[in-house]
Symmetry: C2
Subunit: 501 residues, 2 copies
């Protein structure tokens, strides 16, 4: 077995070569010159990350690239091993990927471990529960629109979207004091495509983008794809920390600010109205546009609705993203961008390059579905279910979690954010949780740096109401077990890196 | 009115600054310092293009950017005028676009002029005729799949696509000797998204991409977006000119070769089997992958089906694109990429960033539709209709067109390519055609350089069978009128640029 010291790996943090690439090329070199023989086991990613004081994802990326290159193979639960050299790697030289794609791939690592527990309780998934889907009314509406205007809806349609749906979305936003018309609305395939088009149209490589820290994992992958520099702005319980943002805006040129002001993913926190106004003023003063990702604000189950930042935007500096994926059917892939009309025209070109337009049939069916009142009924049904789940979760956390833990109490959405007691690692909890039958998302998913291991996200979207308390109980037990491990269990020999056993 | 000489515009062709930007910034400067007063009319794009010996699209891009910047406004039929300075251009500084988006926008210019003719005959559109759509069987299948598994199909689905549809596509290709399985197939939103994902994953800025010249307009926009250098390889009647390709491959590093080997758009030409084999060998020798865009090969109405290049590909160097948009319903936005499984995995990450996945509902409905045999029936129906349209078109061309014109006679697809007699300009024909009630696509759309004006594309997809002969007659008359104009109609005063009157 290879010892760490045999890797003789010294990172050059001042180099332009990314750290993962330094790790990868060093190991590839050792394999090429035979110092790492076939069958050798590489150090575990966590251990090597700790030794080199880098993010675990850095090591995982290096290993993954080595694996794609056919130099090593990982076996679950056993480790990563050096492979025999293959005589012929046929397709390899033909398919090097673009730098943009390589960068994005490094952000898209799998997270939830497989579980063999007979009755796992799933707090990991933010996917809506399909058992609540109003399938039957949707089947009827799609049948109606196909009967009425099938030929038109199966033909190519307008790039910016089906006009009645654009009009409907504008009207719905007008009820929330967002003063827009159909020409401000561009229909896209879910807010995921909204993000892709917006960053495609606005961001050049090496531009800086300010995001909340923590933030939505896949946004980090999109930004990596567009080779943006990500500036993580800490969250406060009133939303993005505006002092930290102002200092970032003052220090250098920030291209765009990305925020989820309502029921933020992963924290569940909501930016209050005064902070929304201050953010707008701050962005306006610095000439930096805001992307408002309002993906789940319609999932409120407590309290008063707040105006979107877009509703307060008199200068046209806010670009707003919405979606039917969290409040209705994710499988339709329907979302929208709201922006000044001249920006909608440019984003329409981005949409045209991306895939021409979104299916007119699905747009017409959802429009008809909304017209008939089914969307509003469904949102109200979801609010009742989630209010109850939230009540049970918060009560169970108070009852079972140690007093050193704390958590957010969102008024809507699906995500609850837990701060763990000191010395408790969410990644370690998760590998035990998979065995003990409780799944969640470790905090490291949502940060670009290393600070995530003290946090985890619980989602109420798919966990059955009557399993919530038992899930919290299982998780509390695991936390207490970790807390009970004395810090003395860490062994350090002077002059050598420290390992936790 | 501004005279050309007042613009004092000298282009620097050796500069890194694009020509359109040189035009734009020069005019913007003249407006800023008052030399071009509000209300002044700019020269027509065609005239300025001719004077400066640049592509008309270059001037159109410059004007369009000036218009977006609020400096000028175009009025249809009147020209482009300098605007009054606005006291406050609120949203402008917030929304500069990325270089990638600017580059793509310059390729996406509107083409077909509006027509006020009472009975226009449309050879321009390559959009399938919705009057032939089998709407009723599709309505029944989508109803069936929603009844059977609505919850699953309205939920998030697998990134790479609905497994039964991936399987079906693999089987259908196997019938054409393409040896692939479901794991080789990635479902995308039409082949437009296929192109976007493929170039996203493979191309870095400044990479060279070899394409047929002429080629599909929107591919040029996608490549501009990814800031590729486009190498146009001439077409022969056996497909891409392999000698020209070999010299390009030998001269420099080509990242990827893009080809439409069957019923090419815009020429309708098909690459013969020997050329397919030679192309594969050539690409293999140079280590350059091939993107085979097989968007309309199922629309054959004459002759024997040829194996796709992918069927001959033993080394896994061909990436294949297919779509349901031309042979079935464009509005579903369904297409597929076929590639080695490791490439499908990477492209799936690109798909995830782009929009997660394509609607499972539409995929399941099309799968069921195909299973019931409706797709095959529809293709056979299309073949009958297009065989008849093609026969009438070719006969009408022979009967009415001057002997100095020539044309292709495709065995499938919708596109016929006309080479015009000398001195006949397709752009000029088109502006007259709009008045005289015959529309087509001018050749300049399909080239990166200036060589397109001697060509035009006729599409049979939407023109009614009984209008084809009359459309050809109208077009022939316009061509003969242009031929009859003596070259002496051009006026040149020594020392001044030449204008055609």
């Amino acid at each position: 077995m290879v010892q760490f010291e045999n890797l003789r790996l010294v990172l050059d943090r001042g180099s332009d070569v990314p750290l993962y690439e330094q790790v990868r090329s060093h190991i590839a070199q050792l394999i090429a010159n035979g110092e790492l023989a076939p069958g050798s086991r590489l150090p575990a990613t966590r251990e090597l990350a700790r030794e080199l004081s880098v993010n675990r994802a850095t090591i995982a990326s290096a290993y993954e690239t080595l694996s794609t290159d056919g130099l090593v193979r990982s076996h679950v639960g056993q480790g990563t091993f050096v492979l025999e050299a293959e005589p012929h790697r046929a397709t390899k030289p033909f398919w090097p990927f673009s730098r943009a794609m390589e960068a994005a791939s490094r952000q898209l690592l799998p997270t939830t471990p497989p579980t063999e527990h007979p009755d796992p309780i799933d707090f990991a998934s933010l996917i809506p529960d399909e058992e609540l889907f109003p399938v039957e009314p949707f089947r009827e509406t799609i049948d109606t629109v196909l009967r009425r205007r099938g030929k038109e809806l199966l033909q190519y349609g307008p790039v910016a979207g089906y006009p009645p749906l654009r009009h409907y979305i504008a009207e719905r936003l007008a009820e929330r004091n967002v003063d827009v018309k159909a020409e401000h609305v561009l229909i896209v395939n879910g807010s995921q495509q909204g993000l892709d088009l917006v960053f495609r149209a606005l961001v050049n490589p090496a531009d800086s983008v300010a995001v909340e820290s923590p933030t939505y994992t896949v946004v980090l992958a999109v930004l990596a794809h567009y080779q943006a520099r990500v500036l993580g702005i800490p969250m406060t319980d009133r939303g993005m920390d505006l002092e930290a943002l102002e200092s970032a805006l003052t220090r250098g040129s920030v291209r765009v600010i990305y925020t989820m002001p309502t029921f933020q993913n992963p924290t569940g926190l909501t930016m209050d109205v005064e902070t929304r106004r201050s953010l707008l003023r701050l962005a306006g003063r610095h000439g930096v546009p805001i992307i408002e990702d309002d993906f789940d604000s319609e999932l409120r189950f407590h309290g008063q609705a707040l105006p979107p930042i877009k509703a307060l935007d008199t200068e046209g500096i806010v670009l707003y993203l919405g979606t039917f994926s969290k409040g209705l059917f994710p499988g339709l892939r329907l979302g929208w961008i709201v922006a000044p009309p001249e920006l909608v025209r440019t984003l329409s070109r981005a949409k045209m390059i991306a895939d021409y337009h979104t299916s007119p049939l699905l747009q017409a069916a959802v429009f008809e579905f909304c017209q008939r009142g089914h969307y509003q009924e469904h949102l109200e049904h979801l609010a009742r279910v989630n209010r109850e789940k939230s009540r049970i979760l918060v009560r169970a956390l108070a009852r079972h979690f140690p007093s050193e833990a704390s958590w957010t109490e969102p008024e809507g959405g699906y995500a609850f954010w837990i701060s763990l007691p000191e010395r408790v690692s969410s990644e370690q909890l998760l590998s035990r949780g998979a065995r003990e039958g409780v799944l969640f998302t470790p905090g490291s998913q949502f940060f670009t740096g290393n600070e995530g291991d003290r946090f985890l996200r619980l989602s109420i979207s798919r966990v059955p109401t009557d399993k919530i308390e038992e899930g919290v109980r299982r998780l509390a037990r695991l936390i207490e077990q970790q807390m009970a491990q004395e810090p003395g269990h860490s062994v350090q020999i002077p002059g050598e890196p420290m390992f936790h056993i």
